[in-house]
Point group: C2
């Protein structure tokens, strides 16, 4: 498990093979096992597999080649109608996204958390037809990995531990 | 791994046994393996073990009994000096917290993500003497579990999948 956490890397190139619906749903289910404040579960998902919608989604980011190349994308939203505290809800979404990325890696797949697309979040929300209170938080592109993993640089923990008391 | 994600629960009662420093550092290291936008790694940590500071920390929340009872707490901060996008940075902190909670569970320990304490974040920041740009995001209390895990209710995924496209 600790090894899964430590060896997860962003994967941006994918083999063309399709991903089973049951696999995509399992990944989303793992996302929902994240904790949330008051257990409000503010996450919502749109699965994007069809070429037409996927190509339109790709046009909303400078990383369009990643989305075009991925057999499936999952757009993740914060439902502001379910929100109770914006900071804690956004943290919960981060925890949900991390569960999804860990599940993807643990299943032998690869994925990447795309955030730059938030620059055009209104366009994406319209394209995907989500209810008004739903705010785009990220898109995860995933598939069978077709590239080697990067090195993964992190600061030594002594640089991020401020003090011991 | 999927089992670890699915069986993690908040643990709020702990045995009095101490937790090794190397274990605490391993949990923090796992937190740092979360992804962050531009790999900015905006998380910072304060380890609170000493009774005096821990009791003062406990006074900042209505859940004081959890902190008093835990052999160790880790306060997690967003370093706004390292920030590049507030929403994405807060998501990254959520991913970091989730890695820590999963690591705690995988190591046979128990922990809980405390958010209510953010109501007194300024007081906590002063108490723990963090640099000015560091903003309290959460406190994780952890130790050897002394209670059974809760049930863990989640919405069926069909309630959180908005559409398939």
């Amino acid at each position: 498990m600790l090894d899964i956490i430590k060896t997860r890397r962003s994967i941006r190139k994918f083999k063309p093979e399709k991903i089973e619906d049951s696999t995509i749903e399992k990944i989303i289910e793992m996302g929902t096992w994240a904790p949330s404040g008051l257990n409000n579960q503010p996450w919502r998902f749109v699965i994007v597999k069809g070429k037409e919608t996927k190509d339109k989604l790709a046009q909303q980011t400078k990383y369009s080649h990643i989305i075009e190349n991925a057999p499936v994308c999952v757009a993740v939203f914060l439902d502001n109608a379910a929100s109770y505290d914006r900071v804690k809800d956004i943290q919960a979404i981060g925890a949900c996204l991390q569960n999804m990325l860990l599940a993807i890696h643990a299943m032998g797949l690869g994925g990447v958390w795309l955030g730059e697309i938030l620059k055009r979040r209104k366009e994406v929300e319209k394209l995907l037809g989500v209810p008004e209170p739903c705010e785009l938080m990220a898109v995860i592109a995933l598939g069978k990995p077709a590239e080697e993993k990067g090195e993964g640089r992190r600061k030594p923990i002594e640089q991020v531990i401020l003090s011991r008391r």
